[in-house]
Amino acid sequence: MKRLVSFFLLAGLTLVACGEEAPQPAPEGIAGQTITLLTHGSFWVSEGTLQAFTDQTGVQVELLEGGDAGEMVASAILTAGNPVADVLYGVDNTFLQRALDADLFEPYASPALSNVPSALQLDGQHRVTPIDFGDVCVNYWGDWFDETLPPPGSLDDLIDSRYAGQLVVQNPETSSPGLAFLLATIAEYGDGWEEYWAALRRNEVAVTTGWEEAYYGEFVSGGGDRPLVVSYASSPPAEFIYADPPVESPPTGVLLDTCFRQIEFAGVLKGTPHQAAAQALIDFMLSDTYQEDIPLNMFVFPASQTAALPEAFVNFARLAEDPYQLPPADIEAHRNEWTERWTQIVLR
């Protein structure tokens, strides 16, 4: 784990470095407008957070939720030009190129981007703005492993016969973490990914349709008998916060060398009559007020480096220092071909 750092160190340092943020002056003439923010179905902000935006700018925000990230992007594409909302939030790097190809967004470079690591800013034209990110990684059940059989360290270890029959993954054709994990293996092995998956299959990998079935059906946590599951880097903090009975530390851990980074973006939708207000909302979504509200509501990490993390995240959430990534354009260009090949190799 030498190429990894604990995320809390980094977050702690930046926390010391900056104090209260200065409120940005609201653009003229937007007070009194109401704008709509379209998000996916696992979105939430705390009460009062959006009120802070209204207090600053005089702009009311209405929230709309629709489907999962993929369904939301598909419906945004269908309604392009006459959008149901002014700002869309929740398109991730695996769907990003599709949304960009459909010309959904008005470019807008928020001044607050200066606090966002450039590695998260995937669109040079600023049609979308990174708001949060998280890692999809293999999680392990702590009690299953000991000195004689330590948890696997890398993707390579997963095809080791010592870990035969232990891993459960999701179908990349029906599940977002499943797709992310497939992309991680493609980023690691390049053209050799097909051989890797053939080896995983020989090592008795289990495949489920979605995350719930993998985590609750096959993984030890839900009563299953497999100690390795594709899940999120933020799953251990959730296992800690929602433990019953309460625990001192989460029963699960993350294999930090298996992570694929998922970044979620927001963008001003083309066709909005409230462009200035929509841009002000993007600025606000990068403010500490909003960013610090993200982790416990959605179990992902804030994109802004100036945002402080909640205690459970500081203590139990770890992020890969050098996660696997692929350019969104590559993902969009090849995903159908990759998932089809994957189906051939793993399921047929």
Binding site: E71, I77, G217, Y242
Partner: protein, 543 residues
């Protein structure tokens, strides 16, 4: 008297257009227009042609039809004994049993799938010779679990009104019980059986969660393929082509089933026989069957909802009143939203479905056929097609309904209407014209005939349909998750899905408790909706 009659006739003439236009407008705006729109928008004729040359397509189509037919057949076979019990015997807890049997129908798929997986584990069916996990059997078992109630209720309530003396005569003439059932009872039940079967078939034909969660990663139906192409692959051309095939298949099926129902639907005297108590063996065997088919998964859920970190308690239920950070509202508020939506959806379904039933039974031939056909289609169209269709079509004033709060119950009502139609139409058709004629001869105006004869007779059927519409709405997930909605309007199935989407035993316990509350609430609602004092109807023959 004559002038009285005249005003009534005028009233009737004025009312009829409303009876016709309400369903036409509802179906037209919220179903036909959106679905046509999305199919036209995404449709590329060439893609359909290509599809027909792909082996995968034919495999998917075959599996879709096959699993729906098998599920329907199993549900029919397993439900008929129960329908017989409910129809022909009187025993304590009869209406409770009826309400309980409806409950599985509302359970969110993700919870049911979890319960089935737990059951397989419990009985060692995950591997070995009797492996259920990820087999077609798991899928069929779940479909039977969900749909048994449809057959039980539709056929049961129709059977109740059949004159039992016909069977008695057959028995007196020396027919064996098996013969009596096959030769006498079954043919007379045909309209109700065809009705129930068509609804179950359509439900299984477009089933989504069960296929994905229990069928395993290799099984696909038209419904799951439409979703995968539209959402995951961004391939609207293929999705639309598949949706056209799905719609075509559903249309042919509805045509055939309607033809059968019309041909077989005989008119006969309904009567209320004094119902005997069932023998213990009959009751026991029936309850045993229902317990295995419906009860076990429910018991698993109840057990899980009570299990907490420190043994068994009601902690999970108590926790539902507090909002967890992952949800915009508390789970109880979500349950309240679900009830509100379900009430609105049921009212809409009863109104539109009730009017439509009148048109189907009393309207002109062509109109009747059109209604009978058109209002069944929403049951067989995928949530993806309808959801996307609404977004695309209802996007401009005066019909910009995309973020309208009540669009969700409207979508639910579309699925509830076929249930109202399929329970009410066979009953109305069966009303012996002689009863109405003699009422008219005795001086009853057409309205009085309606009020005194048709309404009471159709009332019970309407209540059964309403109960199903309510259950459909309160458990609906697909269309609800698809349509843009305000976060504080979260419904219980969506809340449940979100609770299960993050690790942690606390969240899982709460999800199970919420699922159990959803069932209890539905059970109660069904009891209330159907809970008219029976046997004391205005007209003899009210059942």
């Amino acid at each position: 008297m004559d002038t009285d009659r005249l005003t009534l006739m005028t009233l009737r003439r004025l009312a009829w257009p409303v009876v016709v236009l309400v369903p036409v407008a509802f179906l037209g705006i919220f179903f036909l227009w959106p679905v046509t729109n999305i199919l036209v928008k995404g449709f590329v004729g060439g893609r359909l042609w290509e599809l027909l040359h792909e082996a995968v397509f034919w495999r998917v189509l075959w599996f879709t039809v096959w699993q729906a037919a098998a599920s329907t057949a199993l549900a029919l076979v397993l439900a008929l004994p129960g329908a017989h019990l409910l129809a022909r015997f009187h025993f304590r807890g009869r209406s409770l049993l009826r309400a309980l049997a409806t409950v599985p129908f509302v359970m969110p798929t993700v919870v049911v799938a979890g319960a089935f997986i737990a059951l397989f584990e419990q009985f060692g069916l995950n591997d070995g010779a009797f492996r259920m996990r990820h087999t077609v059997w798991a899928l069929l078992a779940a479909h039977v679990f969900f749909n048994l109630a449809i057959v039980l209720r539709t056929v049961g309530s129709y059977w109740e009104g059949l004159d039992g003396r016909v069977e008695e005569q057959a028995r007196l003439l020396g027919a064996r019980p098996g013969q009596v059932f096959l030769r006498v009872t079954l043919p007379r039940l045909a309209p109700a059986v065809a009705s129930a079967a068509s609804v179950v078939f359509l439900f299984c034909f477009t089933s989504f969660g069960v296929i994905l969660l229990l069928g395993g990663p290799t099984r696909a139906t038209l419904e799951t393929e439409i979703w995968r192409h539209a959402v995951w692959r961004g391939d609207m051309a293929s999705a639309s082509a598949l949706a056209v095939v799905q719609l075509g298949a559903v249309m042919s099926l509805v045509l055939v089933s309607n033809f059968l129902q019309r041909r077989r639907g005989g008119r006969e005297q309904t009567r209320l026989d004094s119902r005997p108590m069932p023998s213990r063996r009959l009751l026991g065997a029936n309850l045993g069957l229902l317990l295995v088919a419906l009860g076990l998964p429910v018991l698993v859920l109840v057990e899980r909802s009570l299990a907490t970190g420190n043994g068994y308690s009601f902690d999970n239920y108590r926790a539902l009143t507090v909002r967890v950070t992952l949800l915009p509202v508390s789970a109880l508020t979500a349950l309240g939203n679900s009830v509100l939506f379900a009430v609105v959806a049921t009212a809409l379904a009863v109104l539109v479905g009730g009017f439509a039933s009148l048109v189907v039974v009393y309207g002109r031939r062509s109109l009747s056929h059109f209604f009978d056909f058109g209002l069944m289609l929403p049951l067989g169209v995928s949530a993806v097609t309808l959801g996307f269709g609404m977004l695309v079509a209802l996007d401009a004033p005066p019909m910009d309904f995309r973020s309208w709060r009540w669009l969700v119950p409207v979508a639910h009502a579309l699925i509830g209407i076929p249930f109202v139609l399929r329970t009410v139409v066979p009953t109305l058709r069966r009303i012996d014209p002689k009863v109405r004629e003699s009422a008219a001869l005795l001086g009853a105006s057409p309205f009085q005939v309606g009020r005194l004869v048709d309404f009471p007779l159709a009332g019970r059927a309407l209540a059964v349909g309403a109960a199903f519409a309510f259950a459909v709405s309160i458990g609906e997930f697909g269309a609800t998750s698809f349509l843009p909605r305000h976060p504080d309007r979260l419904t219980a199935p969506l809340a449940l899905f979100r609770l299960l989407g993050t690790p942690g035993d606390l969240l899982r316990g709460q999800a199970m408790a919420l699922a159990v509350l959803l069932m209890v609430l539905t059970g109660l609602a069904v009891l209330v909706i159907e809970g008219r004092p029976s046997g004391r109807g205005v007209v003899r023959g009210d059942f």
